[in-house]
Symmetry: C2
Subunit: 323 residues, 2 copies
């Protein structure tokens, strides 16, 4: 059903009212980014489920240490999107000075929500962005039937003279909150996307939650991308990895590159615009269309902001107590 | 058939005898790396085909310019593996100083051969490595039926306390020289891996060479990884991209990260060792084995160096004039 963005924002603010003011603004902004770009698994459902985004338990001030072009940020339990945005801003600042900036984020207790939310800001600063996150193990590796990796999303962003080119796939067949959404909706999972706790294929969301998600395409290459994310966003930034259980379950690795250290910003932005144009004008297979991934999301967002409304599944609105 | 490594080396040296001495050593080393790790599409066949590795036409000295933590290297037509190795060494040097090093390589006329050849050297220097390369368009994008991208390989390497963790998949269903090898062998291509020049599926190598290779898994995510490689190893480093025809057809992007700027080198190396152990000891699906990608290649290489012989298809040996 279509709901007004104003109403959605005030309902969200009520739910997270116990957070510090500056954190509320960022969490609301990131949740509405998800809903308006059509990512229902990263939107208001994150106020419920296994790791509600508002479950913060600050144990101290957010702490930043810088070493050359890299920063380590420990969130000490503050809201994940707030801490992550600090990390993104720091990486932008570092890249403007050093040409490259890296931030490792730990000390958060939930996911960071859509990575494109942050990647878009990196592109807006005329930088190339890469980020990835690890989380508690729920995904198998190649040929394995037990959880080894988080859903381990990674994403890139490239500035252009039009909309930036953004994408942020998870390495798993679906995200963890996709599973939670499908469980609430009572929807059958696609075939070959999950295992139950005995290692047998299942299409039942609840059984998959007790078992494991499979890799997006079940290939060795896919498994190694999950492993790469696990290493960059895990031990490298001081977070846990694989099935190890330490307090720092969640970790994010953020990298920014200033095109000025190589071809120059203007040349690069125009090249990205040109590349997008070449793809969109290329010959499509019969009955299909050649599209870019971020395209649909950005179009949906522009529409939602224009009509000041967004389409959300009524079951999700009820589940989080908005109705 | 098994051939002696000594014989293989001297035959290779004869074929590329017109190159400068220091370039011969590197090209031979990289070709033998490919053969001993079992990558026949990156080995001696590269002395033939559409872009023979020894086809160099130096138009001047190799030129390096440094800007902050980044270097741009123009090969001016010198042998690609030699120029690329200079780039890798420069990226290692930059990372040791700045924490991160980036090198863009252009001015080469052929592929760089196996990326693991270089990634292994980055790991040996206790750095995390990422590299990717673009080449003339032979691969379609998502839903498209005309060549948009090169085969666009990318690879990561992570140092550990045992063998490094290395992988370097191409984003395409196979490499261009895979196609050349299969054409020589008269082998049928796997289904759904290539199109002919009309955009119809084909399993005939020659027809695919006139048409296009498909994406590795034909997904949008895969297409966007190909696009990412195209942008990093193309315009960012000053090389061509997509179907644009400029002289700098080939480009490589190399990045090195010193774990010392985040968690510390020793902690990181031990974590990579631990992660590899957890994967290898994880429960496998019935009748399968959990493996890491570089594992087989490194085992093959160790065996070959021990017995001082390597197994090469006789048809390839004949094709390059070694027999």
């Amino acid at each position: 059903m279509f709901v007004k963005l104003d109403w959605l924002e005030s309902k969200t603010r009520e739910t997270i009212a116990h957070l510090p003011d500056e954190e509320i603004d960022i969490v609301v902004d990131a949740l509405l980014w998800a809903e308006t770009t059509g990512n229902s698994d990263m939107g208001i459902i994150k106020l419920a489920g296994t790791e509600p985004i508002q479950d913060v338990a600050p144990s101290g001030e957010i702490n930043t240490t810088v070493n050359k072009c890299a920063a380590s940020i420990h969130g000490h339990g503050h809201a994940a999107p707030y801490t992550t945005l600090l990390g993104v801003n720091k990486a932008i600042e570092l890249a403007k000075h050093h040409g490259v900036g890296i931030t490792g984020v730990t000390g958060i207790r939930t996911s960071t929500l859509c990575q494109t939310y942050y990647l878009e800001k990196i592109a807006a600063a005329d930088l190339i962005g890469f980020m990835c996150s690890r989380s508690p193990a729920v995904q198998t590796g190649f040929n394995s039937i037990e959880p080894l990796f988080g859903t381990n999303p990674f994403g890139f962003s490239f500035p252009s003279n039009e909309d930036p080119f953004l994408f942020d796939p998870s390495t798993s067949s679906m995200t963890w909150y996709d599973l939670i959404v499908k469980n609430i909706q009572g929807v059958r999972l696609p075939e070959l996307t999950a295992l139950d706790d005995l290692g047998n294929y299942t299409c039942i969301p609840q059984k998959a939650m007790e078992g494991a998600l499979l890799l997006r395409d079940r290939s060795q290459t896919n498994s190694m991308m999950a492993m790469t994310v696990e290493l960059l966003a895990g031990p490298l930034v001081g977070a846990a990895f694989m099935s190890l259980e330490i307090e720092e379950d969640w970790g994010t690795f953020i990298m920014t590159i200033d095109p000025d250290i190589l071809c120059g910003t203007q040349v690069f932005k125009q090249s990205v615009s040109d590349a997008v144009k070449i793809i969109k004008e290329s010959k499509a297979a019969y009955g299909t269309q050649v599209r870019l991934p971020g395209e649909d999301s950005l179009r949906k967002r522009k529409e939602a902001l224009e009509i000041k409304r967004v389409d959300i599944d009524e079951r999700l609105l009820k589940h989080v107590g908005f109705m």
